[in-house]
């Protein structure tokens, strides 16, 4: 699927001249590999690997029982549960919204389509703190949308619902951008064939289009979920941050750090990374299964 570099036929003469070339790399006519890989590894080591090693090692200062105590502390486990469940709900709502947006942007021509397309990226482009205070102002009890919701008895800002809205906001572009290329590539002749054979519009959507976009949809939803779990800036303002009720997991890391509980903070951070990766792997295997079935 990804077309890796098509190397030109290797000069066998060069190979013979430089037999001592390290086994782990293949010979090439271009220079600069040593410098480039050296810079890459040194920078990667200093910026990514060393710090993440600290994240993986430091929780163990308090031992397994200490980590367990930290994570099962009611306040911490409530925050983890809240973060992961709301992120899942938000990602699930992003699925139909994303399909709608991608479908409209790919399949229909209408004035303002390009503008709408560009605006999909706004949640990426808007700094999270800006999105956070704007959403809070909108959904606070005295804000325009918050007041509207209050009339039907819904509390939006400073409640889990508010966090959910912020997570839907930041997750939407992931799903739309994952779906667009697949919808563009979708072979319309298959749809036309289905139509000729008498399939209704609904049947075409369910049996032709959805199976084709399912793997992309799942990967978009997964990306939205992963982003939502770690999201901080757009959520802390609207959350209200009441212990046990509307505290998200990243906020608890901040709180632990303020108490100089480094090992505790690292334990929560490590747990978040572990649970996220676990769910990513699980969802990826579902995706592989679906992709394999679609090919048959």
């Amino acid at each position: 699927m990804t077309d890796l570099v098509a190397l030109p036929p290797r000069p066998t003469a060069g190979e013979a001249r430089r037999p001592r070339l390290a086994r782990w790399r293949e010979p090439s006519v271009l220079p600069g590999f040593g410098l480039a890989i050296g810079v890459t590894l040194a920078y990667l080591g200093a910026i990514v690997i060393l710090p993440l090693t600290a994240l993986a090692v430091r929780p163990w200062e308090i031992g397994l029982s200490g980590i367990w105590h930290t994570l099962t502390d009611p306040r911490v486990s409530a925050a983890l549960k809240l973060s992961f469940s709301l992120s899942a709900y938000a990602a699930l709502l992003n699925a139909p919204l994303g399909v709608l947006m991608a479908w409209v942007l790919v399949r229909y021509q209408f004035p303002g389509r390009r503008l709408l397309d560009a605006l999909v990226d706004l949640p990426f482009a808007l700094p999270t703190a800006v999105a956070g205070i704007a959403l809070t102002a909108l959904y606070a009890p005295n804000g325009p949308l918050g007041a509207l919701a209050a009339k039907v008895g819904l509390k939006t800002a400073y409640s889990p619902l508010g966090i959910f809205i912020a997570l839907v906001f930041i997750g939407l572009p992931f799903v739309v951008r994952a779906l667009q290329p697949v919808l563009e590539d979708l072979d319309r002749e298959v749809e036309e064939a289905a139509q000729t054979l008498g399939a209704s519009a609904w049947q075409r959507v369910v049996h032709v289009i959805l199976p084709a976009i399912a793997p992309a949809l799942i990967s978009g939803v997964t990306l939205a979920f992963a982003r939502a779990v770690g999201e901080y800036g757009s959520v802390v303002f609207i959350a209200g941050n009441m212990p046990m009720k509307t505290e998200i997991a990243p906020l608890l890391i901040v709180i632990k750090l303020e108490q100089y509980d480094y090992a505790g903070a690292a334990a929560i951070g490590m747990a978040m990374v572990a649970i996220s990766f676990g769910s990513l792997i699980a969802i990826n295997s579902v995706q592989l299964f679906l992709a394999g079935r679609g090919r048959r």
């Binding site: 077309d3 570099v5 190397l7 790399r25 090439s28 006519v29 271009l30 600069g32 480039a36 890989i37 810079v39 920078y43 990667l44 990514v48 994240l55 430091r58 919204l97 709608l100 947006m101 409209v104 942007l105 399949r107 021509q109 209408f110 709408l116 605006l119 999909v120 482009a125 808007l126 700094p127 999270t128 703190a129 800006v130 956070g132 205070i133 704007a134 102002a137 949308l145 906001f169 319309r188 749809e191 519009a201 959507v205 770690g230 999201e231 901080y232 800036g233 303002f237 990243p250 906020l251 901040v254 750090l257 100089y260 480094y262 903070a265 690292a266 951070g269 978040m272 990374v273 996220s276």
Partner: protein
């Protein structure tokens, strides 16, 4: 592209377009409008006076400085990594690619936390730094490190697929004709990747200037000293200075909008010279 849609139920297309526009309006456009509306709530004069306060100016200066350090470093890294990964075959490449992408999948707060674990008062190097009177956490170096980690993959990720597509033929031809490696890189590779490089730098810069979670962990929120513009927004907001907070936020929102316009322009004008963004 101009073929008529296949699902041709009468009336469903306008309905779906209307729904899409509504979703975008409520979810995305309304918050953006709110930023500017609330920033100007007490008039243009108040708006500008809020931006001219010393703390606001210091925050803007600090934000520019942090971006001016972290973006070029990540751009240089991106070019080096893309050169090594796209132009050569070696073992462990996929591991390297995964590691480069890794910062995108960790929470911004964790990206700040890891630096505190290393350089904070009780960090691995905390005492060593204290003995030498060096400060990283709650100081500018910490802000820079956190920003670099968060924006780490942007340029590399943009360049690698493009340079893999382009292969090594052109550079190899130049070398055969007697060009030095540096000349081949400067005269062939750089012109080939310039739009993608610009694209990556643009996204990297927007994120660097707008980053909140990671820098908030390492900043300590010392007004006028370690508050970048997004942190300045938070400080004012928590002080109930809503006009000030939204005024600062509107500067950041404008940055986001400008980035979006330039990004869309690059995608329309130079789609073929950008990474396989929409084709995959």
């Amino acid at each position: 592209m101009s073929r008529a849609p296949v699902v041709r139920l009468p009336g469903i297309a306008p309905l779906l377009v209307l729904m899409a526009v509504t979703v975008m309006s409520v979810l995305v456009i309304l918050p953006l409008f709110t930023v500017f509306h609330d920033a100007l709530a007490k008039g243009v004069g108040t708006f500008f006076s809020k931006l001219k306060e010393p703390d606001a100016l210091a925050a803007i200066r600090l934000t520019l400085m942090v971006a001016a350090i972290s973006v070029p470093l990540n751009a240089a890294f991106g070019v080096a990594a893309a050169w090594a990964i796209a132009k050569f075959e070696f073992k462990g490449k996929s591991v390297l690619l995964t590691l480069i992408d890794l910062p995108f999948s960790i929470s911004p707060v964790v990206s700040g936390l890891v630096w505190v674990l290393l350089f904070g008062a009780q960090g691995w190097f905390g005492e060593w730094l204290q003995d030498r009177d060096l400060k990283i956490i709650f100081a500018v170096p910490g802000l820079v490190l956190a920003t670099i980690l968060v924006t780490f993959p942007f340029v590399a990720r943009e360049l690698i697929p493009l340079m893999q597509d382009q292969g090594v033929d052109e550079e190899a031809a130049a070398l055969t004709l007697g060009a030095s490696g540096f000349t081949a890189f400067w005269k062939i590779t750089i012109p080939n990747i310039r739009w993608a490089l610009l694209y990556g730098v643009l996204l990297c810069n927007a994120r660097a200037m707008g980053e909140f979670g990671a820098v908030s962990v390492v900043s300590g929120h010392i007004r006028g000293l370690t508050t970048t513009l997004p942190l300045h927004v938070e400080v004012l907001y928590n002080d109930y200075d809503f006009v000030g907070a939204f005024a600062a936020a509107s500067v950041l929102a404008s940055l986001g909008l400008v980035t979006l316009v330039l990004k869309s322009a690059l995608e329309w004008r130079h789609a073929g010279e950008l990474a396989a963004r929409r084709r995959h």
